[in-house]
Amino acid sequence: MRAGGGGIVVRFTLNGREVEVTTRPNATLLDLLRNELKILSVRRGCETGECGMCTVLVDGLPVRSCLMLAPQVDGRSVTTVEGVGDPERLHPVQEAFVEAGAVQCGFCTPAMVLTAKALLDRDPNPDERTVKEAILGVLCRCTGYAKIVRAVRLAAERVAGGVRE
């Protein structure tokens, strides 16, 4: 397939729903989510792959949406924090973030929650080092990370019923 300066149709699954959007080939996944689909929980941060604010899950794994071209998600499954829980039924990770006080300004929170969810989906019982390695790609300038790490381990405890020391 090829597409020039005009439009390109991208079909993918967004938070469990099939979507079809016409975008431009030079749009990043971040541009597509924010500009076309108005999903503003996906933050525009450094746009150079350093800060991790634009994290989304693609086929369950965390990626930098600022470094992925929009046409590259064609046929794939994208999850933003809207697909993780809702105010009435929070995901255990979200509950734990509230309970542990792991949210301050909130700018990095969607990226942190998505990263934590992806981690617990593949490792329900991560030790502290594993949690720190997983969130290393998401900067938080408020919390100093201690409460975020605690929240992820609290969520693991809830989900798996125990954590390693």
Partner: protein, 290 residues
């Protein structure tokens, strides 16, 4: 938005080669995008065509072939880090990949991309160099094999011609009696190397029967430290000989001063990194100090 370009998604490697040959030097290949998109955003490159290889499953594999491992160029760093075949056969590559970037980058960044971007600090390169890996390149003229030591020609430069694609990396596996290790100096975990070193040794009868050392971020390309290697081969495996051989690293490298470190700092630290990598490699080879 990025600068405008035309997007192409070939369905096969063959189609990709044909497309790249037709489009010529105005086309760039994208896989994970973790280097290309950053460069496009910074205005360092502005290709008229971008050819997406991220869907080509034929270059995304890890295959154990007895005494060697074949890794498709489109294999992500995350897949390499989690591969049992890599952990067993080329553990020093896994060690280097573990220390590269963040999880979020490794899920899309590929080993082929790391090599073709040809940064002097490409961390996948030193481990593959001490393993004497061979790179399989496909292009309009067919298929050719390039020893990894001949692949890089300068910062951001490789031997790849128009229409050529790096398809796979063939890595001889570690043998009994060998040990290897990777050392990296960086300001924090996941950041770019200020300097890095990989070492692979084989010890028999208390002697270094083989010693291979490669360094990153201390020359225009990742390089083998041939003077260090010569100072080890055939000599007794003692700490003293290892230490004095490590000092030869200064004569093997050509570091520059940049934001990450000065030339002098890189020179001194290269010696330290080579020594540490060699010491750990010897221990892993069975720890038989003479």
């Amino acid at each position: 938005m990025l600068p405008e370009f035309e997007y192409h998604r070939p369905a096969s490697l063959e189609e990709a080669v044909r497309l790249l040959s037709e489009l010529g030097p105005d086309a760039k290949v994208i896989a994970g995008g973790t280097d290309l998109v950053v460069k496009m955003r910074a205005g360092l490159v502005s290709p008229r065509h971008v050819v997406d290889l991220s869907r080509l499953t034929e270059i995304r594999f890890i295959r154990d072939e007895g005494d060697r491992l074949k890794i498709g160029a489109g294999t992500t760093l995350w897949e390499i880090e989690n591969s049992r075949e890599v952990a067993r056969g080329v553990p020093v590559l896994r060690e280097a990949v573990e220390e590269m970037a963040s999880w979020h980058v490794k899920t899309t960044a590929t080993i082929g991309g790391n090599l073709c971007n040809a940064s002097p600090a490409a961390d996948a390169a030193p481990p593959l160099m001490v393993h004497d890996a061979t790179l399989v390149v496909v292009g309009p003229e067919g298929r050719r094999e390039v020893p990894i030591g001949e692949f890089f020609t300068g910062p951001g430069q490789t031997v790849l011609g128009v229409g050529e694609i790096l398809a796979e990396v063939v890595v001889p596996k570690m043998r009994r009696g060998q040990g290897a290790a990777f050392e990296k100096l960086t300001v924090r975990e996941g950041a770019l190397s200020i300097a890095s070193a990989a070492a692979l040794v084989e010890i028999s009868g208390g002697r270094f029967v083989d010693a291979r050392v490669a360094l990153g971020a201390v020359a225009p390309t990742p390089i083998r430290a041939l003077k260090v290697e010569r100072a080890l081969k055939g000599r007794p495996a003692t700490r003293e000989i290892l230490r004095s051989a490590s000092r030869e690293a200064k004569a093997d490298i050509k570091p520059i001063t940049d934001v990450r470190g000065s030339r002098e700092y890189r020179e001194e630290m290269s010696v330290v990194l080579v020594r540490r990598a060699l010491e750990r490699a010897v221990e892993r080879a069975g720890g038989a100090w003479a």
